[in-house]
Symmetry: C2
Subunit: 523 residues, 2 copies
């Protein structure tokens, strides 16, 4: 029996689409060529002693080399630690020591910044287009391209011994508080979880529907759940893949046009930046990680961008994707709104929204509760953190730490991180919904709602606004007031204060950094 | 962790599509109602002692009751034996004894024919719309609807203990020679294998592309690989399902129109019969099991039917589906031809075409070899038949017994069963290709090419033709001759004889019965 393991994904391209391209900077490789490079790399790495269970840290933007490492390490049964380069240096080192990285593969993009690591990690492989790129001063160091050039191009017998329950990779979450947490993925978990997103996207006609004719460009970095599965999916279906490396938004637009990119993934802040660029054609975009404001969604639609929203994360993998309900006309404003807020659990996934007693809340479109998730690809917990694991993973369920609610038609709205929600007079105020409403005001660029401690109510909401035109607190209050009568918000949701700022700080993952905002505005 | 097991497929409909319909005869059930019936049935069956590992034989056409049994038995961890009602009575009894059926669930459609079984099998459940349908004269007998009515509607704790490697079902293949062979499917095998077909169909734009908006009607019976996965897929995506029961082709057409059916599966002979019916709208059809002739494919296209061809089987599950290559215009005659003959292995599946020495043959569009298949859902072999298993399943590969070849672009053509191919002068003549070419002649209705023993060449091809207009052997020879110059066939492929018949016998699975034809024409 063939195992459900990562390296099997790419073998099929040899028969179905050997000439299809992977584009990475100036490098254009066919799948057949890429497969040859993977085999040669894997054979070289085997000679270096990398094999079953070896922990290999990789620090790179989205390049063909990072992609190749996915498949070569999979064949060897080694574990790929996709190093989260948006962590602070201290947290990054913590994650590498915690994971037990034996080898580091570092691209030239990062070599300048990570030299201090040479004292801690003795075995390096440097990845660069430059054949003479200087090696770091460590006991063992190679150039990646030398390993590819010197490797034998033949199948590895150990590849057939890798089991689908073996660990394929490990990732450390961006912690806004505390040290990063590691999550390990079995081959079958990462494949089933990541690919199910695309199966679901293919089965629904609206939004960012995928097909084998699409040209894919992930703007989510490989380190983050393998670019939300983009390290696997294009090869899985034999489609063209464009890797943006360290390209800035204007260069990304150039790539979209040059390579005929039709499908991208990105977080909403990247979408915001991309929409600031001149025209880039009718692309499809999968976004998520934080709520999409209706302002942004309308801007995107006006630009011919079809989008879908995803809900998931590194500690639960793929959970839900927005869909247009069957009784809603596909191109209506209502459909656009469903794509922005109304998600459906992926097939095989069960989502339960629960109150404090752990009982399911009514699916009435306004009762908010904690989001619990159950799926066949749920990770087993946090690596070497039994206590954190026990708190989050209970009886086969993952307590996501998110707040959400179900609409009567089964649409799931994920409102907030539980710790980001404002609790006023014992009631949760979903800041994400408030932010979405405020973003509809033409003068509002970015907006974040945080809780300010309040003697009487416990907490009261404060809106931090980055305006794009003249606007006052009174204007925004007046803008929100009618939404109370319309039943969209409760009167006590209206923020007590509006703070206007030049810029809103983002986390390493590109989300609004509410911790920093709270330190500044909620004291 | 949620297991990848059959009964989890339907739970999600409770949130996403509780009001979506399953139509079966005069019965219209929402998924929510169906789920309630499944729970009540499962609780009743539990009281009767049906539990982990109990072997339950089910004899029914495609009805909601058969569908419910899939999910109820899955929750109990029991094994569903989908009895192949196209077997001869002797073979059917053989399969039931070989599987070890403890309970028989028999619909009224079959009660007349199977009364002789009452002596052998003591525990019966009768399925009928008639609440007073007479019970058979056995020691233990119930009416299905009574069990549903009396059952408690609550979740079963044992449902959460079912593992994805547990056996879900067993099926006995239609043997044209020898006794039927049993193949057991684990939950994960049957789900991954069956659902991957639909994932693939959703990811490619041409042919029978599926989406969540489709209305599905399987004309493949549930006994055959769960109607090629149709027992799972509509629920998996929350789509409407129409079950045709024992409906004749004209009644099927009525159902298509009444219920808005957009997607069907069937074998080519069913397609042939359906095309004989008046207009039934623009439907999509998945077909396979035997090669589709180009005549039939053009007829279908002319009627607005979009079709895809599948390659797989009960002993390998889903393997390949026809696609239009990326460089072919989707609506061209060439695209139609690719949909008819050019398949791609499903993602995660590897197909290898080998010569007698076990070496891969060149992918040149004419070298024919034996088709070997490797996939994550390959069954483990034939139940209690170690010798047959050893012959067919080798080192993780399944030797399909089919002949095929690869086109240079990766398209897979499956020509024939190895045992059906004609071997002339040491070379294989792919009868399927010959049949397809002959079917292009306007006077040819059905055609089958078989081998007649020949002293000089070993075997020589004979074409058995069911004409729809006046035609002679000389006409057909003249029709084939130019194809030699066109490079489509070799000159020695042209049949030595043409036999004209009033009808061509079919096997129990609806394929042309070449065994019978050989007995008559190849001696």
């Amino acid at each position: 029996m063939r195992q459900y393991v990562v390296h099997e994904v790419i073998r099929r391209t040899l028969i179905t689409n050997p000439d299809q391209l992977v584009v990475s900077g100036n490098t254009h490789l066919t799948y057949a060529e890429l497969y040859g490079r993977v085999l040669r790399l894997a054979n070289s790495l085997k000679e270096l002693g990398i094999g079953a269970g070896t922990m290999v840290g990789v620090l790179d933007v989205n390049t063909h080399r990072f992609l190749e490492l996915h498949y070569a390490l999979s064949m060897l049964g080694a574990t790929l630690h996709t190093i989260n380069f948006r962590l602070s240096p201290e947290q990054m080192v913590y994650s590498m020591v915690h994971a037990g990285d034996e080898w580091l593969f570092v691209s030239d993009t990062f070599m300048g910044a990570v030299k201090p690591l040479t004292a801690k990690f003795p075995k390096w492989v440097v990845m660069s287009d430059d054949p003479n790129y200087p090696l770091p001063d460590v006991s063992i160091a190679y150039r990646y391209e030398d390993l590819v050039a010197s490797g034998v191009e033949r199948e590895l017998p150990e590849a057939d011994r890798v089991q689908d329950t073996d660990i394929f990779s490990i990732f450390y979450t961006t912690g806004t508080t505390g040290m990063p947490k590691g999550i390990r993925y079995q081959h079958r978990q990462i494949l089933l979880g990541a690919l199910q997103l695309f199966h679901h996207l293919a089965l629904h006609t609206a939004g960012a529907r995928v097909s084998s004719g699409d040209v894919f460009m992930p703007l989510i970095p490989f380190f983050h759940i393998h670019a939300w599965g983009m390290a696997f999916f294009p090869a899985y279906i034999g489609a063209k893949l464009v890797l943006a490396g360290a390209a800035a938004p204007d260069e990304q637009v150039k790539l979209i046009q040059q390579e005929g990119v039709t499908w991208l993934n990105m977080v909403p802040t990247q979408l915001y930046m991309l929409l600031g660029q001149p025209d880039f054609g009718n692309v499809k975009i999968l976004t998520g990680g934080s709520p999409l404001t209706s302002g942004l969604s309308r801007q995107a639609a006006a630009r011919g961008v079809k989008f879908s929203l995803i809900y998931g994360g590194s500690d639960q993998l793929g959970t839900a994707i927005s869909v247009v309900p069957e009784d809603v006309a596909p191109d209506s404003p209502e459909a656009l709104e469903w794509l922005r807020v109304g998600m459906r659990p992926l097939p095989m996934v069960e989502v339960s929204v629960r109150d404090k007693q752990g009982n399911e809340v009514p699916h009435d479109g306004h009762t908010i509760g904690a989001v619990w998730v159950r799926s066949p690809w749920l990770p087993e917990g946090y690596y070497k953190e039994p206590e954190l694991t026990t708190n989050a993973y209970i009886n086969g369920w993952f307590r996501s730490g998110d707040l959400g609610m179900f609409y009567p038609n089964g649409g799931l709205y994920v409102a907030d991180r539980e710790r980001d929600a404002v609790k006023s007079g014992g009631e949760w105020i979903p800041t994400g919904m408030l932010e979405a409403l405020l973003s509809e005001h033409p003068a509002v660029g970015l907006v974040a709602v945080i809780g300010r401690p309040d003697e009487r109510w416990g907490e009261r909401p404060v809106a931090v606004v980055k305006p794009v035109a003249d606007v006052t607190a009174a204007d925004l209050r007046e803008f929100l007031q009618p939404k109370v009568a319309e039943g969209k918000i409760a009167s006590y949701w209206i923020p007590d204060a509006f703070e206007f700022v030049d810029d809103i700080p983002l986390t390493s993952a590109g989300k609004i950094n509410k911790v920093v905002l709270r330190e500044k505005f909620a004291v």
